[in-house]
Amino acid sequence: MSSMPDAIVKQDAKYLADNARRRKRFSLWFYFLCVAIALISVVILIFLMASIWSQGHSRLSSDLLTRSHSELEIERSGMWPSILGSLFVCGTCAVVALPLGVGTAVFLEEFQPTNKLLRWIHGFVQLNISNLAGVPSIVYGLLGLTVFVYMFNVFGQIRVNESAGMEIMGYKHFYQVLTLEPGHVVFVPQSDPTKRQTTFDEPFQAVDPDGNSIEISIWTPGTPKPSDPAIRRQTVRAGAIGGTITERSWYYFRLPFDKSFLSAGLTLALVILPIIIISSQESLRGVPSSLREASMGLGATTWQTVRDVCLPAALPGIMTGAILAMGRAIGEAAPILVVMGAAVAKSTGPKHLMDDAVTMPVLIFNWAGRQQDEFKELSAAAIIVLLVVLLLLNSTAIYIRHHVQKAQS
């Protein structure tokens, strides 16, 4: 018979029982600690929601949803332009990021190379995407500022009230000149784009604010002044100076993009691109390979397999990921702040592609940083609106995840 180790031979029954009891008690305490700490996150969430609700619920009114920011009437400030702005910015972002992201995911998942060099590149791109997901969003903001807003200053700087840069389409320059009728102006199409002012001495053709072409005559001071308003509207003092004004169609396009909602949307697309790629890759990975093999066995090419088998099967997952990424985009403030600045005075939504915009998170940031209590409350109310939008988005995502996926399997 082999000899037993000392530890087993010299067992002390009392010591072992005590030890076991101590360890069990310790384990139980650890369990309670776990429960308590897990509860903390629930408490934090409830506390967060409750404090924002208690601050902001009194400001939830139709004014908040329909009016714009106002320094003079703080009481009646609203967030309508910022809702429109968020919609435009996130729309741009979705249009750019979704095809790009899903395309990249399909390429990385479904077209895996066999060649050694290509495999190395594949792995590098994959690592690069994980790294991009970790880049702070404010760095993307600076990228957007340099690439979209200023375009490395290749096209010159854009100054306030000046149409510098390179205008490509959707614009009409006019000289604006006052007629004898007070407050009434007519417009003359600008022929020389570099001349910012012009003087009128001869009768000329012009366009009135309603868009009708009219003949304008000149009145020289010293001669009798016409008294009929209709004639006064078609007469200009000799030597009147016309300054330029630009009429922009919705498709107005220029380089660089300046502080426009287009720049902001493109920048946000950069921010959420890695998120969309990673989530789409995961849902494509979830498609069973038997489906692919069956399709390939029937003679389909790789792309036909992807288009008709993999993408439909992975669609609920891709959509869920996309919606969650859009939720991230709506709440993202830092890159937009860098690209479009912190100004919130705009009272309408964007009018053309190069127009600036206010978004909800930037408005909240601006209001929250102010001294007045009214703005703090308005900020809380705007947060409630933002959270409701996010809640709607997220519940759509959860609905898709639970129901569409179940229906497919």
């Binding site: 360890r23 069990k24 310790f26 384990s27 650890f30 600690l33 776990c34 429960v35 700490i37 897990a38 996150s41 969430l45 506390f47 967060l48 404090s51 924002i52 790009l100 395309g103 990249t104 390429f107 077209f111 791109v125 690069n128 994980s130 790294n131 991009l132 997901a133 970790g134 880049v135 702070p136 404010i138 760095v139 600076l142 990228l143 340099t146 200023y150 490395f152 700087q157 691109l273 090419t301 792309w303 939720g327 709440g331 993202e332 403030a333 830092a334 702040l337 860098v338 600045g341 998170p361 909240i364 940031f365 929250a368 940083g369 900020s379 809380a380 947060i383 933002l386 959270l387 996010l390």
Partner: protein
């Protein structure tokens, strides 16, 4: 031997067009993937060329940038008086990040242990969505929470020892932000540990505490460490919370009750000040961004490598 009738009469379509379109599609998908590489190149190119405008200036030296203890890019409009030493901004960033980590790492890890080892399916089904909701709260909302609730309560409990804007309130809010991330990544790592390891531990007489802390956590350590690193880099890059709650004064202390302008906070203030494009002060923005990007990029890279290289595989 003759072919069957059905094959004799069959007209085979040319596959040339199909092959061509297939190739075009693969190329366009490859271009999509190239875009991600272009973004990285774009970021690095942008940071280098733009910060060159800062480092080339006579008012700046590389050693001064790394060692000086004053940063007055915003306060001094006159270039001769401006001091560019990154240390105060780094100190602010690390104060906020440290506080955030003190909160989010233990809480996140223990919540993850609870979720993966103890919680019943029912508790999971409402604790997980709670964490997902916290993860989905926009950061500007947490910043508002920090100045509305956390900072006043800190002042209340400490009899006003904390200034209105301080590193602690921002750190706590950033910690709340990182908590769901630490938790879900560590939980994923722990759930990947095979059941047989747990059963082995229980079979040897381990208590649930010993099983989870001495067996499961070490087995999932690579995942947990990479989660920590990712949370750390997230906290360093966090912007809106610190812009609202951490104050605008770059300070070089270890005192968590004082203001602490972070690197991201400085970038926001610089943008808000609408400083003129092209000045050295403006370009200092990019020098700060280079520092920020380098730190977070290294963190993420190391995190990814740890997760891939040291992943325990149980086959």
């Amino acid at each position: 031997m003759t072919l069957p009738k059905s094959l004799q009469n069959r007209e085979f379509r040319s596959t040339r067009w199909g092959v061509l379109s297939e190739r075009l599609i693969v190329i366009s998908l490859a271009l999509c993937a190239t875009a991600t590489v272009l973004i990285t190149i774009g970021i690095i190119y942008m940071l280098i060329t733009q910060s060159a405008g800062f480092f080339r200036s006579d008012a700046v030296t590389m050693s001064g940038f790394l060692t000086d203890t004053e940063w007055t890019a915003l306060q001094s409009k006159d270039l001769a008086q401006a001091k560019f030493g990154i240390m105060p901004l780094l100190s602010g960033t690390f104060r906020v990040t440290l506080i955030a980590m003190i909160i989010s790492l233990p809480l996140g890890l223990i919540t993850a242990i609870y979720l993966s080892e103890f919680a019943s399916a029912k508790i999971r089904s409402w604790l997980k969505p709670t964490l997902e909701i916290i993860a989905g709260v926009p950061t500007v909302v947490l910043g508002y929470f920090a100045i509305l609730v956390i900072s006043p309560s800190l002042q209340l409990f400490s009899d006003g020892a904390f200034s209105t804007f301080n590193a602690t309130s921002a750190g706590i809010a950033v910690g709340i932000l990182c908590l769901p991330m630490v938790c879900s990544l560590s939980e994923d790592a722990m759930r990947a540990v095979p059941r047989s390891l747990r059963e082995g531990a229980y079979g040897l007489g381990c208590t649930p505490f010993e099983t989870s802390v001495k067996v499961v956590v070490p087995a999932a350590l690579s995942g947990i460490i990479s989660a920590f690193l990712l949370a750390f880099s997230r906290a360093i890059g966090e912007t809106m919370v610190v812009a609202l709650a951490a104050g605008t004064l770059p300070t070089m202390t270890l005192d968590p009750t004082q203001q602490a302008q972070t690197m991201t906070g400085f970038i926001v203030e610089m943008i808000k000040s609408e400083s003129e494009y092209g000045t050295v002060q403006y370009y200092s923005l990019y020098a700060v961004a280079v520092t920020l990007f380098t730190i977070t990029f290294l963190m993420t890279l190391v995190g990814q490598i740890i997760r891939r290289r040291f992943k325990e595989s149980y086959q």
